[in-house]
């Protein structure tokens, strides 16, 4: 097996992958219309790419590569408008959110591509249960070693990303008591978790070769890590976010990631294997409680509310956001600390309407605005 080649890219260039729900407009359950929507919308998509996902009720938006937040936001809004227009003609709606609140996973249909059929064969029922919807943020890295550093340094901030994007409180018809229940589905996969603690690309390649030789992986796609290097794009990919309820929030989170990466590369805080001591605990707390979760710092030994740490982080990276043009994104995220995240919004809709059908109707309406 030849070593993985890392294709260098412009530092701090960024892009977003967004997995979206297709729902019918009758009872707002998932609708298996991905194939038809892609057939109709692909030629009109302004930039980027529209792709199928593991089951027929999902589609994925891949934005093109950007350098500044306003451009990314403009592209996401334009793509949303094109998709919403086609969806209306098909009598389906598109919604954000990390899970569909009441779909039955066994009713899902695998999208018939070679890769998805092979995933279904490999993972059995997990493949259909993987009908959950995430946002992935790619940050461009000038070198492979920079990517490894960024991957490790970002691990401390996984709970921050989870809490900001959390939008999956309901799953299979019940309130899970989690702000993000989606990641519990991802946890079932054997190659989920975190990248091993390696110092550079050479060490990473040794690990990869070993896994390849053991027959455990065939490509980087087989790792379902929270954050992973993407050598063919020259990026680090943050994969823990639920798909937010709006494309604006998705762009804001990408803007946060870009500014945070800028700060991390500038300051170069030291990375330590100790982060993995607390990672699962911090991650669980963010999934379960959102901003109200607890964050344990293995270096200082302190334990504090995640919201406080996020607030400080936003302040700390503000100069970098100003430089990159994403101040508005950070201001909007700051506001969510008091207003609540998308999970809170979804729960408030359920409280006022009383049915999950109405919740999905409202989240679809919110996405299309």
């Amino acid at each position: 097996m030849p070593a993985l080649d890392f294709t260098a890219s412009d530092a701090l260039s960024f892009g977003v992958e967004l997995e979206l729900q297709l729902v019918n407009t009758r009872d707002f359950n998932l609708a298996p219309d991905a194939d038809d929507l892609l057939r109709r919308a692909t030629r009109d998509a302004p930039q980027g790419e529209l792709k199928p996902e593991i089951t027929q009720s999902m589609i994925e938006i891949n934005t093109s590569v950007h350098r500044r937040y306003p451009e990314l936001l403009a592209e996401l809004r334009a793509t949303r408008n094109v998709l919403a227009g086609h969806a209306r003609k098909m009598n389906v709606a598109i919604a954000g959110g990390g899970t569909h609140p009441f779909q039955t996973w066994s009713d899902r249909k695998i999208f018939p591509t070679e890769r998805f059929l092979s995933v279904s064969e490999k993972y059995g029922f997990l493949a259909k249960q993987f009908t959950v919807f995430g946002q992935h943020v790619h940050i461009g890295c000038p070198s492979a070693d920079d990517a490894i550093y960024l991957n490790l340094a970002l691990t401390r901030y996984v709970p921050h990303f989870i809490a900001m994007a959390a939008s999956s409180p309901f799953y299979q018809g019940v309130d899970t008591a989690f702000d993000s229940s989606r990641l519990s589905v991802v946890n079932a996969f054997p190659l989920s978790g975190t990248m091993p603690f390696v110092r550079d690309w050479t060490e990473f390649n040794r690990y990869y070769d070993r896994m390849f030789d053991l027959g455990i992986v065939a490509s980087m796609k087989d790792f379902y890590w929270d954050i992973r290097p993407k050598p063919e794009y020259g990026t680090v990919e943050i994969r823990v976010c639920d798909t937010p309820l709006t494309v604006d929030r998705a762009a804001q989170i990408a803007g946060f990631a870009q500014a945070l990466a800028s700060w991390l590369w500038a300051v170069r805080p030291e990375t330590s294997p100790d982060i993995y001591l607390v990672h699962s605990y911090n991650r669980f707390h963010a999934c379960r409680h959102g901003f109200a979760g607890t964050l344990v710092d293995p270096v200082t030994g302190s334990s504090r509310p995640l919201a406080d740490d996020l607030c400080e982080t936003l302040d700390r990276i503000a100069p970098h956001a100003a430089m990159l043009g994403s101040q508005d994104a950070l201001a909007a995220l700051h506001a969510t600390l008091s207003q609540g995240n998308d999970a809170a919004w979804l729960r408030s809709q359920f409280a006022s309407t009383g049915t999950l059908t109405d919740v999905v109707r409202k989240q679809a309406a919110l996405w299309a605005v």
Binding site: T25, P32, D35, D36, R88, K89, N91, D107, P112
Partner: protein, 404 residues
Amino acid sequence: MTLPDFLPHWPPAANGFLVFGLLLLAGLLGGRLAATTRVLPAITGYIATGFLLGPGGLGWLDAGVLARSRVIAEFSLGLIVFDLGRRLDLNWASHDRWLLPMGIAESLVSFAAMFALMHVVGGIDTLEAAVAATIGIATAPAVVLLVTNELKADGPVTRRMLWHVALNNVVATLGITVLLPFIEARATGASWNPVARSLWIIAGSFLLGYAAFRVFTLFARLIGKSPAPQFILTVGMIIVTVGVAEVSRLSVLLALLVLGACARNLDHEHRLVDVDFGRAAQLFFVVLFVLTGATLHPHQFGPIAWIGLAFVVARGLGKALALFALAWPAHISARQAATLGLALTPMTGLAIGIAQPIYDIAPDFGARLSAIVVSGIAILYLLGPIATRFALIRAGEGEPAARD
């Protein structure tokens, strides 16, 4: 020796429970047998069971039993037609500007094909050909909905199919109602204005459907959105609407379609829950199709069947022609148009329901009409469910293994 009074009479007389229960069990067996073929839908099994037990077969289901069971069949059709009305989404038609033209074209071109065949080629009288062709516009909603449920089908073709079925049933019902005065003019002894009768049926049915919807939402506001009370409310409203329509001599079909369409389009405050009739309704659907099968007779497949066959072919070609002609501007692929056309094949019991007023006001005309369309309907009893099943599976929207 005489038996004491407290013992049952011999031979025992069949009562409603016995008839319903036996029809259910017999239908179940037929449905399971059909399912084992992996090709036939369960409906074909129910229909075959009815045929076997009915006057055309063993004769166990006589006219008396069929008459006693009529209320079950009408209740089942009520659920189905209301459900169909809920598919008439006008908001969809406002976004997809080809949806309504395509639906109307499918109805009109198939009408033209059937009319031309009967009138121009077959030399059948203009009015009789027009009435028969109008009946042929409608696709059987019960068949398409049950096959859809059996396959758990969902997707663009399924959604469009149900829209077309809803629309072509509205067009056929309105068409027959408009033709009624002409039929009336031929019949003798009418003491009332035939045009007034048509207006009464159309306006009255629309008004009834709308009024029922208002009552429906009023009740829904009181009971809230829990699924169980909403289920009872929905079924109750359907039964009441059927009852009022019958008492008022209105169109049950039209009133229920309007009720369903209002529930879909005018419930702006989202008071109504889109209840799934589920397994409870399945009981009635089994009986409905066994009874439908019992109306078949072997002579319908005999020498006059060629008329029916030609009728079926013209109908299918007309629908397919309209769908293919408008597929490109409507952004529908050729495969979707083909499967949609095939899925619209069924034409069964409800077609007779549409024609019922004709039998009421002009029995002789009704008898001649039967000779034209009944063999077509009989052929489609058998082919329709199979065609819809095949089409939805080919469209990739139904799973053959989904039946439970």
